[in-house]
Symmetry: C2
Subunit: 317 residues, 2 copies
């Protein structure tokens, strides 16, 4: 059994087409070729934190994967990143552990960013005509933008956050990566001037109102991954022409869609899975003026794909 | 973060009072001092296997524990033990991993055996007047007997199994440990001659009939840990004077009690938890002629206790 540390994982990632690995996972999932039980969850009150256990396997695969990802939101005050975790790969024939990937949450961050880029590839206006709007200033706010490079040429960005210090750091870092970044503390400005919006916060109250969203906007909501968290006014989903879920069963229980379903603002049979669009089994955006929403709660099949790809890459090297 | 291999774990265990650690865990659990979400489960068809993910934390503890335990039942044919797995310990304040215990399922085996001994301490006739009956010839059939030494002086054993070869090996191994072991392929003989019976098989059909059980018998059923597995005729639970669960919420969903509840042969409010008896909050056996049953499905609090005890012992050494 291999214990693989983060530097080795980063090295292996250089040879992996993360977007294509994750896309193949979503396709397999939506075609019923994956076994993905409900997410395991532990919550902590003091200090506040949550831990998600996502696990499963592809029926035609060789391994099964168990992923642990934690978010402890007071960590930054202690000089620690809020997210952490590891991925475990086991043999599907015998249960023997084959690898412990001590990724400190990095693979979760990466596969989440890849999900955002895939959603944009299917649903964002093409080309993005105005700006990319990012809600949040943390790791995902950075990675989402980096991964969007693979699917759009737009480099004009408006970032929203709650603190000037974090916004300044975000602008500095992303400017250094070649983006043209403005910042705001008014989320309505994002809605009014951006046509590809990505929300990356752990908010438990809506940050964007339905009235502010303009025709031709795509929103990827990836911050909300529990039943409590919420970034979008549920009326946005009601107003949208197309709402996609990374996993319909999972979005029934957690994320933006769960709030819209609970409020009876939409019907489950209107939902389409990201994997169905990626597979060509369902259409993505069909009209420039559509409002589209992708609700990404994070599916174990993303973890399965990235973890097995890293183990395979290290085996090949 | 420490990666701890099996030899280190075995060494650490020498300084740990496993029975008392596990007992304290059951007490904390039954007093509501533990957070233990439902068990995560993955099942495999070809080859047949199941994986259980048990996890949680004590509210006053320092860590949280995630335990992975697999059973792949064709493994022995490949020269491999059927069980495998690992335990992971994380910091409850930050989510940082503190230890990966590569125990290959050993800690699960040990804490399961400790559960059996604790059930016998509360419920077995004292002294055991006839014989200890063991159904099964695998690792648990061995460990249960070893751990029973801590709670009874009885060394007379009747072991039941389906194959002569396995029975012979079991007799040889346990005789070498000082037990006086007879074997049988007739489970009714166990019911008829043993007053402390432990069932340790992965059976999906009842092995013991209600009519065969005599007054003054205690049965610990620990093989059945899924909704499908079953070792006891549900009528045994209906006939018993006292039925205890390691976890009432968990036994509602899996194990012997779930079958008896589904068949409406008993009522959930008749159940008592092992931790309540260990705490002195409920009586155990009160009469020599009672029939008692303990249904042990395996609770994360056992894993929490054993994993944190090992990490503590290694930190102290």
């Amino acid at each position: 059994m291999q214990v693989i540390e983060l530097p080795q994982i980063r090295e292996a990632l250089k040879g992996i087409d993360v977007l294509e690995e994750v896309a193949a996972g979503f396709v397999a999932y939506s075609r019923g070729e994956a076994v993905v039980p409900p997410v395991g969850e532990l919550t902590f009150e003091d200090p506040p934190g949550d831990v998600h256990i996502k696990y499963g396997y592809l029926r035609r695969g060789q391994g099964y994967v168990i992923k642990i990802a934690s978010g402890f939101y007071d960590n930054p005050r202690k000089g620690l990143p809020s997210s952490n975790g590891m991925m475990l790969v086991f043999d599907q024939q015998t249960g023997e552990p084959s690898a412990v990937l001590l990724d400190q949450g990095h693979l979760t961050d990466i596969r989440t960013a890849a999900g955002g880029a895939l959603a944009a590839r299917c649903l964002a206006p093409n080309p993005v005509q105005h700006r990319i709007g990012i809600l949040g200033t943390g790791i995902q706010a950075r990675l989402q933008l980096e991964y969007l490079r693979q699917v759009t040429d737009c480099i004009s960005v408006l970032a929203w956050g709650r603190g000037d210090e974090q916004l300044d750091a975000y602008r500095r870092d992303m400017t250094a990566q070649g983006f043209d970044v403005a910042t705001t503390r008014d989320a309505t400005e994002v809605a009014g001037t951006c046509d590809l919006i990505v929300t990356t916060t752990p908010s438990t109250e809506p940050l964007l109102d339905a009235d502010a969203i303009r025709p031709g906007t795509h929103i990827t909501a990836m911050g909300s991954d529990t039943a409590e968290k919420q970034e979008l006014d549920a009326a946005i989903l009601a107003r949208a022409d197309l709402v996609i879920a990374d996993s319909i069963p999972q979005c029934r229980e957690r994320g933006e869609i769960s709030h819209a379903l609970d409020a009876e603002l939409m019907n489950e049979n209107e939902l389409v899975e990201l994997g169905s669009i990626l597979a060509g089994d369902a259409p993505g955006r069909t009209d420039r003026d559509q409002i589209t929403v992708a609700d990404l709660t994070g599916v174990a099949v993303q973890d399965i794909q990235i973890a097995t790809a890293v183990v395979r890459a290290l085996g090949d090297s």
